[in-house]
Symmetry: D2
Subunit: 202 residues, 4 copies
């Protein structure tokens, strides 16, 4: 296979990229100044060396020397009593913008419906270990999963895995509130969302 | 102006219909069997005679004899202590599906931003009158406005209009809970929605 | 069935209208001033009386007295040698804007693939009759069908139906040129369109 | 700037990629097995060494030894009398699928409206040189630009640049035919397209 075809295949594995756009990426690289290509390759190679996965929350961060914790986990200013469990790194940025000041744990995805070994899909064991290790400071674990069927399924599995520890150590397990999101109109809201919005009315 | 053009103009006033689709409606009627046209005209004319606006909640319903109340307002089985204020008739169907068992009041729309006389846009006086008349049974008025800027604006105006009465008669004023609606993913949720979902976590 | 439901059903038969929008139309009519409803019903009823189908080209036009021909068919200024066969009334407006100065014939639709009696779907017999009646003036019949598989199918059927007459009376049968339409880019054009654009290059 | 941010910036320059998707690409690479990253970097670096720009048509091709011509330009089986001028490499694939059997020249883009030095944007001088060099075999240059305003503008500039040579050496300058493209319906076609389809009817 030609390098053009090999590279096209690699780009097709990028999230949201189909064959046609993968080919356009290769065309772009072919016609770009050679400096662009070598810089891109260099940064891709540098990614591994320059970044590390936080030992505590499992998100990726830019290494500064030998640090093994990301800036949030290393910070003294965050509320150590709140642990926000999110699916993936990208969720964290949005939660930060909402003003949340606690800590995080990146689950690494959702558990597909109907699988036997959830721990193969998400960091279930690592989360339990984290909750154990921090049991003296954690007062609440917030399950920030998507409001989808896979998200609900994952939430039940995570809640199950943490239940005993939660009882023993007296921390609370909570889930994000459901309701109308910004921009929603009642006419187009589904009955479940309306029922949630009704029960969380204030 | 020709009847084709006049009818096109009338269809252009229909919600969501532009000039091109309005013309297609007229073409459809022109090529439809004559029976379709006369039946349509007959039903449009019948609409006024066969329907009535409920004297209590202001929604439109199919008249059955001399009834001046819709089936929900006339029913003994509904919870008389809850009054759900909605923008328009179409919202009611969705709320019914969510399992709500109280009563309704149709506001008739939202108040545009920056107007002086809100009562020209929505049934503000009628709502106050209703709350006064039913003050002995109403325990909570739920403001079910859209989660949009106009909806928020309208909610504030309605809350203002009912505040004194609410204090005097001891009924509660509540708003629908904000949060993740069904299908939402954290990555694509706006910070306000996440903040609401956080504060209504349970 | 209530008049609200009956009217909703009638609006659902309008082109491009689903159940939800049909209900919004009824809500619009319910809350519109009564004058709007009666005017709409009046114009729908007037449509039949005020419009007529042209005896020559079969398009709908606004009657002016006892005229049985539309203004284009009645005009002396149009080129009587060119007959443009179109699918439906709405096509005519666009062709007029392109500067065409000949005459029209409205086929009334396309022939679905795989049906036995094409004349049940389009005005095949009427077109043959028209071509016979005007055989001394017509020099070319332009088949202006859509560039879709049903359009192609219909074009073949119409061409077949006119072939003998075309040979006898010496008029030409032509089809619209295929090629790049305004706004097309080569990269996104299908091979058939490129092949047509190549063979009609000039 | 961190390598995560630098890489995000590089991906933002990819065609059709915004900041959010660029970040998702980086997240994908961060969580992908290290082998994926190093393979991607390797192929990007290999692209330059493994591919070459054809000296004759300027498209990119996979090098096979010291070849300086792509397989189409090197082939004996192509019609040497037809030269198809295209905007970019990606156009060539679609034209090949249409069954074209001549030769190509990749212009490298379109000339933006209102610029002074068109030769800074497209390979105008190279095209003239090619047409001179092959003047004994070329019988027709087909200008295969997009049917957009920039495409039309570019077509005029290229035609102008080749006009004298075309007269001297007796080759024809042609443009792709305009008309209905596959799938077009008359009702939604613009008047220019209909006018073109009418004038290229057959």
């Amino acid at each position: 296979m030609s390098p053009i075809d090999k590279l096209t295949q690699l780009f097709e594995r990028f999230p949201g990229i189909g064959p046609r756009q993968a080919r356009r990426f290769v065309q772009y690289l072919l016609s770009a100044p050679p400096g662009v290509r070598s810089e891109l390759a260099r940064q891709i190679n540098a990614l591994g060396a320059a970044t590390a996965q936080c030992k505590r929350c499992y998100r990726w961060f830019t290494k500064d020397g030998q640090a093994s914790l990301c800036d949030i986990c290393a910070s003294q200013g965050r509320d150590q009593s709140l642990l926000f469990v999110i699916e993936k790194d990208a969720d964290l940025e949005q939660v930060e913008r909402s003003g949340f000041k606690g800590l995080y744990f990146v689950l690494g995805g959702v558990v597909p419906l109907g699988v036997d070994e959830p721990a193969q899909y998400v960091r279930l064991r690592e989360l339990v270990k984290r909750a154990e290790a921090d049991h003296s400071t954690i007062k609440e674990v917030i399950l920030g999963l998507s409001a989808t069927s896979e998200g609900d399924h994952t939430r039940q599995i995570v809640a199950e895995a943490l239940r005993e520890l939660s009882t023993q150590n007296g921390f609370k397990l909570s889930s994000l509130g459901r309701g109308l999101s910004t921009g929603s109109e009642l006419e187009y809201a589904d009955p479940d969302t309306i029922a949630s919005a009704l029960s969380s009315r204030q």
